[in-house]
């Protein structure tokens, strides 16, 4: 395979209730490719958490899944406010999510930690005022 297979999803930020749909699409596509359910689960959870974060904090962005022969890469990019303190944001329980979505179960401060937990490698590039790009890798 010379050119890796790529899936691109736009994550719309204007309507919170649409958040999380891209990872469902990605899950369907990976299932069609015949991946192990556990791999699919890890990719879709990592992507889901990132997608929710982009909608809550960055007014949306884009999500790309790139399928390489021995790993899957997930790239989430937004033009949001950036993360001021990455190590703090990585702490379990730290959250800046608004109150009105907490009764739906969001805002537990598990988003970034979950992304790290479910992937084999995770890199955060963030610039205050310009945006954040998170690149994750799940070995297949």
């Amino acid at each position: 395979m010379s050119v890796p297979l790529k899936f691109h999803y736009d994550v719309h930020g204007e309507d919170f209730t649409s958040a999380g749909n891209a990872s469902v699409q990605a899950k369907k596509a990976l299932r069609q490719l015949g991946y192990d359910p556990n791999i699919i689960r890890r990719v879709s959870i990592a992507m889901y958490e990132g997608e929710i974060n982009m909608v809550i904090h960055a007014d949306g962005g884009s999500a790309d899944i790139i399928v390489y022969p021995d790993y899957i890469e997930i790239v989430l990019a937004d033009k949001g406010p950036g993360i001021p303190d990455v190590s703090k944001a990585m702490q379990e329980g730290f959250s800046t999510a608004p109150d009105n979505i907490r009764s739906l179960g969001f805002g537990a401060g598990m988003g970034l930690p979950n992304m790290k937990k479910h992937t084999d490698d995770m890199k955060i590039d963030t610039v205050i005022g310009e945006g954040t790009t998170i690149t994750m890798r799940v070995n297949t």
């Binding site: 209730t17 999380g20 749909n21 299932r31 959870i45 179960g105």
Partner: protein, 435 residues
């Protein structure tokens, strides 16, 4: 012998011992014990299911349809309730439920959760309107709407005038099916609710907010459960997809409908006794600043319905875990919502009224008060009425007599004994008197 009652509750007269469990628990005082067994006042019953849950002899059974009854239809659509997803151990992907239902003999699945998400989106918009009385009360639980229609008529204007999610689901499912399969006519299709709740059986027979329901049958979750579990266990990779979001799944438990409003000014209560207390408070206008009231007749919400398999709190805990990686919502309002609104007002049903004539009603009330004073006020239920006041009312309505009160009866017998005793004594001891 099973006697048919005009509701979702069937009474097995042979099993009924005529005890007072259901009598005392019925929130609308719809039950009496007559000739040694329970009798349900059909007009007063709101189908809350309390009597089914509380009967120690299992004499009360929920009535529901069976899948076999619908084999003549060309196209059978399952409408699974959100509560269904909480019934399974170790389930982490709803696609298994949808695929499993297709294996159980349904031709198509339309998740009620999808319609619930649409109701949520509509409600978010509705709450922004200036011309509506607040707080807005959810119309999703049929027992609550029926309770309001018999006991809280002043609050009918506060009830959200949209059809319940399952009704919207039935309508959308049939339309979708006819679009996908133009060869199907509406009469070829049946929409069958996989229900946690006997009140929906009664809703389909006597709909609220519409003339005729598009739901063709109500199947019980617990009736289809084992077949579904074995179908789900045989699935290697599910080939059908669930289209439910976090909001839709959350509707299964109390607080779910409210959480979907993305608005903190709500109250969510469950259990019919609590529901009545909350409605009493709203009627007294004690809740300033609240925008939305979610009320569920069953403890825990729909996961507490009498047709479920699993304990409501276990089911809800599972749903909380399961919903974690679901999209927030998948279904949205598209186009006109007119077809989803009530097309027939829910009206005050004055079953508790003593008389249609006000003066006559006042006379009757006075008589009730006078008669009730003669009773011991211990509300023992032995007379067949739930309280002494209810017995007095039954007497005035001509449905009972004062001799039904065993305490009063005992007092009278004692009085007769005393009187007889005195007479006997006087007869045989005539001289004593003369002392």
């Amino acid at each position: 012998m099973i006697e048919k009652i005009n509701h979702s509750v069937l009474l097995d007269v042979d099993k009924c011992k005529g005890c007072t469990y259901c009598l005392k628990r019925c929130p609308t005082e719809a039950i009496r014990i007559r000739n040694g067994h329970a009798v349900i006042h059909a007009e007063r019953c709101i189908d809350c299911g309390e009597c089914i849950r509380v009967c120690p002899y299992h004499a009360k059974q929920a009535q529901y349809d069976r899948l076999e009854d619908f084999k003549d239809y060309k196209w059978k659509i399952a409408l699974p309730a959100p509560a269904l997803y909480g019934q399974f151990d170790n389930l982490d992907d709803l696609d298994y439920v949808v695929t499993g239902l297709l294996k159980c003999g349904f031709d198509d699945v339309f998740e009620v959760a999808r319609a619930a998400e649409i109701v949520s989106e509509f409600t978010r918009q509705y709450l922004k309107r200036e011309d509506i009385p607040k707080p807005v009360i959810s119309s999703a639980c049929p027992s609550v709407v029926r309770l309001i229609s018999v006991r809280f008529p002043y609050l009918l204007d506060n009830v959200l005038p949209i059809l319940p999610p399952v009704e919207i689901a039935a309508r959308m499912a049939k339309e979708e099916a006819m679009k996908k399969h133009p060869e199907l006519k509406e009469e070829d299709i049946c929409a069958l609710f996989i229900s946690p709740c006997p009140a929906k059986v009664s809703y389909v027979r006597n709909p609220l907010g519409t003339e005729k329901s598009k739901i063709d049958g109500v199947l019980a979750i617990r009736d289809i459960y084992f077949k579904l579990v074995s179908a789900m266990n045989s699935i290697d990779v599910p080939d059908a997809n669930s289209e439910t979001g976090r909001i839709g799944v959350s509707w299964a438990g109390t607080g779910g409908e409210s959480s979907a409003l993305l608005n903190d000014k709500y109250l969510a209560a469950d259990g019919i006794e609590n529901v009545i207390k909350v409605l009493d408070e709203i009627e007294k206008e004690n809740f300033a600043g609240l925008e939305f009231i979610e009320l569920n007749s069953c403890n825990g919400g729909c996961v507490g319905g009498a047709l479920n398999v699993e304990n409501p709190y276990i089911a809800r805990a599972r749903l909380h875990i399961m919903r974690r990686y679901l999209p927030v919502a998948t279904a949205h309002v598209t186009g006109d919502t007119d077809a989803m609104m009530w097309d027939k007002e829910v009206e005050y049903n004055p079953v508790l009224k003593l008389d249609s004539d006000r003066t006559e009603a006042m006379h009757k009330m006075q008589r009730i008060q006078t008669i009730a004073k003669c009773f011991p006020q211990i509300d023992c239920g032995s007379c067949g009425a739930p309280t002494c006041a209810a017995l007095a009312e039954d007497i005035v309505r001509g449905e009972a007599s004062e001799e039904d009160c065993v305490i009063e009866m005992r007092r009278q017998i004692h009085a007769i004994y005393d009187h007889l005793g005195k007479m006997v004594h006087d007869t045989y001891n005539p001289t004593e008197d003369k002392k």
